[in-house]
Amino acid sequence: MELVGCLLMIVVLSAPASAQTPEPSANEKPPLPKDNLPNRDDRHPQSPEHKSEDAKNELADLSLEELMSVQVVTASRKAEPIDTVPYAMSVITKEDIRSAGARSIPEALRLAAGIDVAELSYSNAAVSPRGFHGFLSRQVLVLVDGRQIFDSHFGGTLWGAWPFQLEDIERIEVIRGPAGVVWGANAMNGVINIITKDPADQLGTTMKLTAGSRGAQTEYIGHAFRDEKLRLRLSGEYEGSDGFNRGGSWLGGLEDDYKTGRMNLYAIYDENPHDTFTLSAGSGVVDGGFPRTPLAGIGWSRNPGAQASYVSGSWSHIIDKDNTLKLNAYVNDFYGSPGVPQIDYRYQQLAFQLSQSLRPSENHALTWGMDTRADLLDASNSDPQMLSRNFVSTGILGFYVQDEWRLAPQWSLNLGGRLDYECYGGFQPSARAALTRHLGDTSHVYAAVSRAFQMPPVGLRFMDLPMLNGLAWAQGHRGIDSESLLAYELGYRTKLFDRLHLSLNAFWNEYDDMTTLSPQLGPPGLITLDIDNRAAASVYGVEMEARYPVSKKLTLLANYTHQELDWRSSAAYHDKDLMSPPKNKAMIGARYSATSDLHFSSNLYYVDAVTAPNVDFPFVARSIDSYLRWDLRAEYTFWKNSASFAVGVRNLTDDSHAEGGTLFLNYAEVPRMIYAEFRIQIRPR
């Protein structure tokens, strides 16, 4: 509470700083920014609720005189970010992903401040904002065009299993801090929102070929077209690799080879100026991808793999310019087995989401919505078993309201509340209040307090999983409570010297009822890993993110995060199968365009030492040293930017290093990797 007081005091004290931003008179009160609310459905970039400048034309409301004064000569080829929402938010654009040479979404997420990334094998990564990153990070919610990807059995996101195609991604928005009011359960530490390209921005046929060390290869082909009302893209990709092939427990050899085929379809249909429909569907098959954990037991082995498919549709209806209705529905179908016979499961998720955005008055914006999701889990193929039942199902229903008031020309207040009901977890509330002081057009400071929760996935409640040939068992129970969070945040975003984009954030998160897997002696085996709410914790820290276009040719990027964990439990932290948050983490990047065709980029990452779950000896945490990683890339574009050739190296600084671990996979080390990439887009004439 002292912290809240301090935060609010800082915001209030910043009020006299109006010397640089004169107060408009009462009748000049600026209208409330329409896009100031986080959007729960970013699938359709035309959405009027859409908050990112990438998605709307921020110049649309300018007058003729103002348009005539807009400079269209740029300092760099990079689009300028971003927004004024009272959240700690980073946007990783398609240009960022490309110039960083990222081969996966977790690698791209290293570019954002405050998000912990540890690569556990070629296709698995631990990713979470503000602590608690692990193989299955349950405290972060991942969305693809508004569709949730959250494992029904273990929770978290299996990054290598879902059919992501980097070439189709427009941008990744990362919200650090609770966003549960809008997105409900699991958006506790933050949201990673992956937004794919509008087919109209990718017209024609695009092909990309990459080849690199350790047999890594990717072949992508996509075709997009448009007619009067329809924009459509169909794309597919094959990715294969021999894996990192470094590391491995002394209990068993490492096999993390990975082969996958993916296909995605995305269509937008503008029926009329008021009604827009979207349809997306995709499927991916993975062979390998999960280095088998030796903790499964001697001889307990099968071929690892996964299949993931989805169909998603939405309808957006503009009732009038201040009133928009949106309906989404999707189905996720997932099957996976990480190479051990006792973990073999399939689930379907069916979800409906309805939301309405209104502007009752010039200074008041309101969004309300309701959503429901059913999870159907099938573990009948597990051998001997992974759940106490073969089939488990659950449903969750939520209702929320989010309100924003422009109290005065330079003050706005966001209030949001949400109530969820889940069959096993019962009712859970979420809430957020944020007070923002606008310091001119490009600066603002805000303070926020939030309550969020993480609902245990239904598979965790019924888990009855043998390990070490039945000597140890992981067991859950129906009565596991939701983890809860009370979060305090302070944020400041500004543009200095007309170029330097800077954001600073501080946070204090208080967790309660954290679940752990506590080892206890006793049946059914010698040891039982009991899943229950036995922990409380505090995580606090500061984050800085900066982007500075020094000249027309050179742009510098930087981020820095400091965070601390205070774990309070009779159970050890690594019993949660998570890595400790690195105390310090930083990135320095540079983008240099020697000519309009030749581009160089460099990204240097530093991550402090952490502790991780230990496959070799599960009762003792494994120490992971700090590491420095340097990625370099050079790209030459030709044929009027329609084609490019790039070469690069990832992790130049060392031969290989460990970044983390999990009890569910053998551990792998991230090696040095070189690659070459060719891309061509044949545009329609």
């Binding site: 970039p45 035309q46 009027p48 998605a55 709307k56 034309n57 921020e58 110049l59 649309a60 300018l62 007058s63 003729l64 005189e65 348009l67 005539m68 004064s69 807009v70 400079q71 269209v72 000569v73 740029t74 080829r77 689009a79 509008d198 109209a200 921005d201 017209l203 448009r226 007619d227 009067e228 924009r231 503008d270 009329n272 100026p273 008021h274 503009i318 310019k321 928009t324 027309k552 040719k553 365009s593 000519t595 309009s596 065709d597 329609p684 004439r685």
Partner: protein, 205 residues
């Protein structure tokens, strides 16, 4: 003599080589120089899309071109659409005088029917049409359609408004006579801001 001949050959070879290197250096210098004024294409398209939206507010069409008071204003794009989704996003959720806006992409060649063009109130004529630009201007010159294209030349050959990059900004030229021929009223504020083109021919009926 043979040696002299060889020397001459070597000298010519070296001179050619130096010339070639210098030519390459000069050629390299051209894009470098050009890059210092590199236009942010994405931003330029956003500005032009915002202009298209704005223009609809400063033009009065004859009353009979709309079916009723709520009929949409139709923006047509003829030729290759440079805007991608930018224009759709710009006009989404916008109304002008109570009318929504909609975008149509039209493939048209000189000599073809103008029936698709007639359904539009504003036409952005893509430079990809090449020689077809002039033909299109002629074809719709006396229809109540606001024609917009690229360059001062567009307005000079009978188009109504032409975008021009000037001093790192996008401005526009206006051909008032072409607008009169199309029976369109351009607001005085728009004409005041536009670079005026006078005394140009308008296609005859």
């Amino acid at each position: 003599m043979k040696q002299d001949c060889n020397l001459n050959v070597m000298k010519r070879f070296r001179t050619s080589l130096v010339s070639l290197v210098m030519a390459c250096a000069l050629l390299r210098a051209v894009p470098l120089h050009g890059q210092s004024n590199e236009v942010d294409e994405d931003k330029a398209l956003k500005v032009k899309a915002a202009y298209l939206l704005n223009f609809t507010k400063f033009v009065t069409w004859p009353a009979d071109v709309f079916e009723d008071a709520h009929s949409p204003i139709v923006i047509g794009i003829v030729g290759i659409d440079p805007f991608g989704s930018i224009l759709d996003r710009t006009i989404k959720d916008k109304t002008v005088a109570g009318r929504p806006l909609t975008v149509r992409r039209i493939q048209w060649r000189a000599g073809e029917s103008t029936s698709a063009l007639k359904q539009c109130h504003l036409l952005y004529v893509s430079p990809s049409l090449g020689d077809g630009v002039a033909a299109l201007i002629d074809a719709v010159a006396h229809m109540p359609i606001l024609t917009i294209g690229e360059g001062e030349e567009f307005a000079k050959i009978g188009g109504i408004l032409g975008f021009v990059a000037e001093g790192g900004r996008i401005v526009f030229w206006a051909n008032r006579k072409a607008a009169e021929a199309a029976k369109l009223q351009l607001n005085s504020q728009l004409l005041k801001l536009a670079r005026p083109i006078e005394d140009v021919a308008v296609a005859k009926d």
